[in-house]
Symmetry: C2
Subunit: 324 residues, 2 copies
C-alpha cells in the first residue's frame, strides 16, 4: 500500500494529464485555471484511501476521484461568483481574472466534465458510483441554497445550521469515501460506515473552519482572523451565541451586525468578547472533539486490515488542528 | 402509433408530475418555474418521434426525453443570466423574478436533475444514452462560448458561424433523435442517420430564426422584427453581408453598429437596406431550403415503416415557416 504523499503525487500527475479539450480556449482556459489552483485534494485522497483499505491498485480509483474533485472545484467557482469573492487560494477568482459570464459558463463546463470522468468508472461499479455522486452533488447545491437563505434569517437554530453544513460540506467527502469503498469491493456495511465516518469528519472540519476564523493562529492559518465576524457570517459560534444570548446581548449583537463605523478590530474584539462571555468557543471545541469521536466510532467495525485503515484515520486526524 | 399532440400531452403530464424535491424552496421553486415556462418541447418530441418509428410504448422514452428537456431549460436559464435578458416566453426570467445568484444556483440544480433523470434510462441503453447526452451537453456549452467570443470579433466567417450554431443549437435536437433511436432499438445506421437529420434540421431552424427576426411577420412571429439588427447580433444575415460587402458598405455597417442616435427604426431600415442590396435574404432562404433537403436526404435510407417516419418528418416540416 502506497503512502499518502506518493498517492497524492500520482493523482496529481493524472490530473495534470487530464484530457480537457483545447478549444474554445475561452471556456477551457478558465476550467484549467480553476483546477490548477489545487488545494489539498482532500476528496480524491479520501476516495483513494478508502479504496486502499481493500485494494492496492489505486489508479483504478482515479476516474471517480477526478470526477468528484472536478465537481468540487465547480462548486467553488460558482460559489465565488455568488459570494463576489476576489481571491481563492491566494489567486484571483475566475470571475475576477476573466469576467462573470466566463465564470458561469466555465463552471457549467466543469460540472459536465465531472460527469464525463465519472462515466469512465468501470461498468461493474459505474451505476452505484453515479448514484452516490448524483445524490451528493444535488445535496451540495441544496446546502448552498440553505446557506444563502440563512444570510437573510436571524433565527437559525443549531440543528438547521448542522444540517446546512452537512449538505454543503460534509456529504461530498462522505460520498468520496463511500465511492472508494464501492470500487475497492467493500461490503455494504463498510461502504455505509465509511460514508458516516466522512459525514461526521466533514462536520468537524467545518466547525474547525468556523473556529479557526476567530481563534486560529494567523501565522499558521495564513489569513487574518475575524473575517466571518466582520461579514456577519452565520457560523457555529455565531448561531450558538445567538441562541444562548439574553435580550441585552442579542441587542448588542444586532448593533454590531449593523455597525458601519469602519473600525474592524473593534467589531471583532467586541463580538469575540460576547463569544467569550457565553463560552461558545469552548462549546465549539467540544462539538468538534465529539464529532471526531463519533467519526472514529463509525470505522471501528470495518471488515478491514487495521494497518490499512490507520493510513486513512491518520490522514484525517492530521487535518484536525492540534490546538483544538 | 399515437399522434403528436397526444404524445405531447402525455409527456406534459409526466413533466407535471416530475419528482422535483420541495425544499429548499429557494432552489426548487425557480427550477419548477423555469420548467413551467414550457416552450414547444421540441427536443423531447423529437426523441419520442424517433422512438415511435421503431416502437409503440413511447412512455419508455420519457426519462431520456425529460433529461434532455431539463438540460435544455438549464441552458436557457444560464444564457438569460449571461445575456441579461428580462423576458423568456413572455414571462420574467428567473434572475429578474428572483435574483442572479438564485438563477445561477437553480441552473446548477437543473443540470444535476437532468443527469438524475437520464440515469433512470433502463440499464441496457443507459450507457449509450449517457454517452450521447454527455457529448451533446458539452458541445452546447462550447457553442455558447463561441457565441460569446463572436460578440467581440468582426471577422467571423460563415463556416465559423455554422459551426457555432451547430454546437449551440443543432446537436441537442440531433442527440434527442439519436437517443430516441437507441431506445427504440434502431440499427446503428439508423441512429446515426437520425442524428445527422437532427443536425441539419437544427441548423435550418437557427437560420430560420435569424431570418424571421428581420423578415418575419410580427403578427405571426409574436415580437417586433429587427431586434438582432438593433443589438448588432452576428446572425447568418449579418455575417453573410459582412463577407459580401465592399469597403464602403462595410464602413456603413460599422457606422450603424456604433449608432447611438436613438432612432431604432432608422437603423433597422438602413441595415435591412444593405441586406437587400447584397441579397443576403435570398441567400439565407436558399441555405434553409438546402439544409432542409439535406436533412430529408439523411432519413431516406432508414430501415423504417414510411408511415411512422412521416409523422416525424411532417412534424419537422411544420416547424419550418411556410413563407421561406
Amino acid at each position: 500500500m502506497r503512502d499518502v504523499s506518493s498517492m497524492l503525487e500520482q493523482f496529481q500527475q493524472y490530473m495534470d494529464a487530464l484530457d480537457i479539450p483545447a478549444s474554445p480556449a475561452g471556456l477551457y482556459g478558465p476550467v484549467r485555471y480553476a483546477l490548477s489552483l489545487g488545494g489539498k485534494r482532500m476528496r480524491p485522497l479520501l476516495l483513494m484511501l478508502a479504496y486502499s483499505i481493500y485494494r492496492d491498485d489505486v489508479e483504478n480509483a482515479f476516474d471517480a476521484a477526478c470526477g468528484i474533485e472536478v465537481f468540487h472545484n465547480f462548486t467553488l467557482l460558482h460559489d465565488d461568483v455568488m459570494d463576489k469573492a476576489d481571491m481563492r487560494r491566494g489567486m484571483p477568482t475566475v470571475h475576477r481574472k476573466w469576467n462573470e459570464n466566463t465564470a458561469i459558463l466555465s463552471g457549467d463546463g466543469m460540472v459536465l466534465l465531472a460527469y464525463r470522468y465519472l462515466n469512465r468508472v468501470s461498468s461493474e461499479n459505474r451505476e452505484r458510483v453515479l448514484q452516490i455522486a448524483d445524490k451528493a452533488f444535488l445535496e451540495v447545491v441544496e446546502g448552498q441554497q440553505y446557506d444563502m437563505d440563512f444570510e437573510r434569517r436571524a433565527d437559525v437554530t443549531e440543528d438547521e445550521y448542522m444540517e446546512m453544513i452537512r449538505l454543503k460540506t460534509a456529504v461530498l467527502p462522505a460520498a468520496a469515501l463511500e465511492a472508494g469503498a464501492v470500487l475497492g469491493g467493500a461490503t455494504r456495511h463498510d461502504q455505509e460506515s465509511l460514508y458516516r465516518f466522512g459525514e461526521k469528519m466533514g462536520l468537524a472540519f467545518q466547525l474547525q473552519d468556523d473556529w479557526l476564523d476567530v481563534y486560529g493562529d494567523p501565522g499558521v492559518f495564513g489569513k487574518k482572523t475575524g473575517g466571518d465576524i466582520l461579514c456577519n457570517k452565520k457560523t457555529y459560534l455565531y448561531i450558538k451565541a445567538r441562541n444562548l444570548a439574553d435580550c441585552e446581548m442579542n441587542a448588542e449583537m444586532d448593533r454590531w451586525a449593523e455597525y458601519a463605523g469602519g473600525d474592524d478590530q473593534r467589531k471583532i474584539d467586541a463580538v469575540k468578547g460576547i463569544y467569550d462571555k457565553l463560552e461558545v468557543e469552548c462549546l465549539c471545541r467540544e462539538k468538534i472533539v465529539s464529532l471526531f469521536g463519533e467519526a472514529m466510532e463509525c470505522v471501528k467495525s470495518l471488515d478491514a486490515d487495521m494497518k490499512r485503515l490507520a493510513v486513512l484515520t491518520d490522514y484525517v486526524s492530521g487535518l484536525i488542528d492540534r490546538k483544538i
